[in-house]
Amino acid sequence: MKPQPLPAVPDSKLGGTAPSAARAARFSPSAQSRQRIRFVGLAWLLFAAWPLVAGNDYILSLGIFFFINLLLIGGLNLVMGFGGQISLCQAGFYGLGAYVSGVLAVKYGVPPLLGVLVATAGAALSALCIGLPALRLRGDYLAMATLGFNAILSVLFSELVSLTGGPNGLANIPPVSLAGFKLDIASRFFWLAWGVSGLMMVMLSLLLSSRAGRALRAVAGSEIASGSMGIDPFRSKLAAFMFSAACAGLAGALYAHFNQYASPETFSFATSVLLVVMVALGGWGRYWGPLFGAVVFTAVPELLRKFQDAELLVFGAGMIVVLLYLPTGIAGFGTYLQAGLARLRASRRAS
């Protein structure tokens, strides 16, 4: 590197408004990725304390559902936030994962761990089948195709009674065993969900800073421009969609083996819509957004239990307020505050 002439005034005295060369270099994607992974490590260390803090199995299981929801919302954020496509079938893939793994274990005696892998791959494969025709077209065709697919899956879940148990649900799904160790209680299963979701966050970070991730972000910006740069927009979108579906399939399989029961209404189209809202609420296209989305998605329905029938109403109203006043989502709140503080400081200096 060429030696840089020293600035007359240190950066700190300029209020950080003049970005130095060194600072610009720090924004290179791999550095950003390393920083994100460090934060994930830190956060997951903190999350590891949850079993100590949680007083009972109910609170502990909320932690597990948080990790499962994080898989769902994190995957969806890749397609929606970074890829600019709207998928209305995340709950469908979630259900597909739950039923594939659940049915394989209950009806065919397949070991749960193998079932989880098959469910993950199966969800990705079905995403390939929908994505191949829908993603060739520009615009919101994916939204329409996925909307239809979720409806079809919902019908299958409740009508294939001999396999899925129909509206009564699929019961007696065996727990996952790891090396002869049965993960049948919350305090054991917690660690599986903890590890898998942490791994997904790390993978997402690596993916986003990779060549493929940058291509995806460019495609979201403009398909024409990214195409003229030599990126294949179709392949980028398809890969992101498949990754997102795989996350949902994995989440579904984990859900089924933890809950040991699955019923069709969990995976309805309404859940898909809620998941889209959670992506927006957490922060559209922000790496940390899904963490907030998953907290809201897990905790708020529990907190609103006492409103009973009015639960959905309160939920909906709260969401409208947040989206109106926080268009960049909860994850964007920090940046928003920073910008506000900077403005305040600037105006104080001016006066």
Binding site: A215, G221, M229
Partner: protein
């Protein structure tokens, strides 16, 4: 250098180009002028490989490229500045520029990265304004700066032929002149330039050679100076 022969292309069942032929010589500064819907963008997209021609051929440096995917066309040395700039808004200016070298960008290959860095330096010398803006989000740039960025991004792939689709669109007249001055400077240093324009007066004032496109066909081809004095062109495109 570039040879389009009886090209037919369009979207789905509707053809936009009906047997368009034109040629661009090595080192030339050519312009393609025409009204809205005449087929300027379709021609540009077909050359860049974003649209597959139905019939006809496109040759670049003596080789047919009309059936190559866009990625390979970039590698062969053609870059397109798309209509309406289309910078990647949420990315920084630096990231936008790096994306322009996408076909050469391998994160772990130091040789590839060094190439990209050298090229970045060249682009920043061409557009000093972008250097100040490197860490900024592209969406925060002004229209003129975004056009500079879009051109800079296209230059990152080290093209020998630069295509620009209506670069004057939505820009202040003074900025348009700046853009064309930069294009002239690039052309003098050896780059071949083909610009499609609705703003015929600016385009004909700067280019060497011009084509007039009307409903998917070339209706006039001449030196820019003679086109500028042509009665038909004056009436239809210059409003004189």
């Amino acid at each position: 250098m570039l040879e389009l022969a009886s090209l037919q292309a369009g979207y789905g069942a509707s053809n936009v180009l009906h047997g368009l032929s034109l040629s661009v010589n090595q080192g030339a500064f050519c312009t393609l002028i025409g009204a809205n819907g005449a087929g300027k963008s379709t021609t540009m997209k077909a050359i860049a490989g974003l649209l597959r021609p139905v019939q006809g051929s496109i040759e670049f440096e003596g080789q047919r490229i009309d059936h190559l995917p866009a990625a390979q066309i970039v590698t062969r040395g053609i870059a397109l500045v798309p209509e309406g700039r289309r910078v990647f808004g949420p990315m920084t200016v630096r990231e936008n520029l790096q994306m322009g070298a996408f076909t050469k960008l391998y994160p772990r290959s130091t040789a590839g990265n060094r190439q990209v860095e050298t090229r970045l330096e060249f682009v920043l010398e061409t557009f000093p304004r972008l250097r100040e803006r490197l860490p900024q989000q592209a969406a925060t740039l002004s229209g003129g700066e975004q056009q500079m960025l879009a051109i800079g991004r296209a230059l990152m792939s080290a093209p020998r032929l630069l295509l620009l689709d209506e670069p004057s669109m939505g820009l202040a007249p003074l900025i348009v002149l700046q853009v064309f001055a930069v294009l002239r400077q690039l052309q003098r240093s050896g780059l071949t330039v083909l610009v499609s324009e609705q703003n015929a007066s600016v385009a004909l004032a700067h280019a060497d050679h011009g084509y007039v496109i009307e409903s998917g066909r070339i209706v006039l081809a001449d030196s820019a100076a003679r086109l500028h004095d042509n009665d038909k062109v004056r009436e239809a495109y210059l409003g004189i």
